[in-house]
Symmetry: C2
Subunit: 198 residues, 2 copies
């Protein structure tokens, strides 16, 4: 093998290892939650020393941000294919995976503090998610929602409701029907004062 081939092989092996670590981290999160998802627990699951794991992810925050970014990729679809009813399905799906939702919500909370390593991730993510949601709303309603709001003005509300409901649901899963409440919000969005569209 040439030097270039060796480098390529190494890069592929490293990328595979990285993916394996992320899958293991997601499992540990699902089983033990945010606090239980220590670097040590993840390292053990993939047969690495903690030192070996640090080579891939220098901190717990870096690992968890990578897990959330990976989840976004799995949940993603081309912007043109998103629809509001798929968001409702996503909320239902999230209600079945409290570990990752808890990790998202806990890291989001930390990220608003000064110089937190996840701050950049969430800031960029929100910008992208608001833009995607505006597209989804435009595809559904055109330039104005029934309420008169533009897609750009309704998008932050859509995102806020999804995030805010997650906190209420995580703290009181018996009392808060997260998917039901989200569907209620979609009903609100679609209500047209004096306009009936069939």
């Amino acid at each position: 093998m040439s030097y270039g081939d060796v480098m390529t092989t190494r890069a592929i092996r490293s990328a595979e290892r990285r993916a394996e670590i992320l899958r293991a981290a997601l499992e540990v999160i699902a089983e033990r939650g945010y606090r239980g998802a220590s670097l040590a627990a993840v390292a053990e699951r993939v047969g690495l020393t903690q030192q070996g794991l640090l080579h891939y992810f220098p901190t717990k925050e870096a690992l968890l941000v990578a897990v959330l970014a990976e989840r976004d990729k799995w949940d993603a679809m081309p912007d043109s294919q998103w629809r509001l009813d798929l968001l409702a399905s996503l909320t239902e799906y999230n209600a079945m995976r409290p570990g990752i939702v808890q990790t998202f919500s806990a890291l989001l909370g930390e990220s608003v503090t000064e110089e937190h390593p996840a701050r950049e991730f969430f800031t960029q993510r929100y910008e992208a998610v608001r833009a995607t949601m505006a597209q989804v709303l435009r595809a559904e309603y055109g330039e104005r929602l029934p309420s008169g709001l533009t897609p750009e003005r309704a998008a932050p509300l859509l995102v806020a409701v999804m995030d805010g409901l997650q906190y209420q649901w995580l703290l009181a899963p018996e009392d808060v029907d997260m998917p039901g409440a989200f569907r209620d919000f979609l009903t609100l969005l679609g209500e047209a004062p004096g306009v009936s569209e069939d």
Copy 2:
């Protein structure tokens, strides 16, 4: 002075000290944010040793929860006097005090993790806030909102929007108009399909 008088005087002095610490903590939060609000910084401001402060609040989390509970008392009014437009004013006011909003949002995030000391506070707070919001909505709209939702079903959405918008605003204050977005949501809540109320 009798033994009883001494105890009463001590209790009063202790309560005054506690209130003084909470005011100092709020100042430090406003100036330095969540991360800068260390027990050491608060102790220094009230002229206590850190050890002395620990007598009143054993951990940073306990102190911050007490600050948030105190803010709730200041923001509170009798349930019968809350109105939706006052919530809009509260959101505007919050946009002028990022330090305490950041502290609320960061602690809320942490609270969803296992056995966090703030979990009980936020769980109970949400239960109470949802009940208050349902009352506010009932006072405004009666048993059904224009959309057909009951006050109890709309209340979690109202709370979710307020909390969710805070995260977006804290991460991108230039891009997200938190009070404006909240007013948009109130418009959505008030929209009546086919019904016009003047």
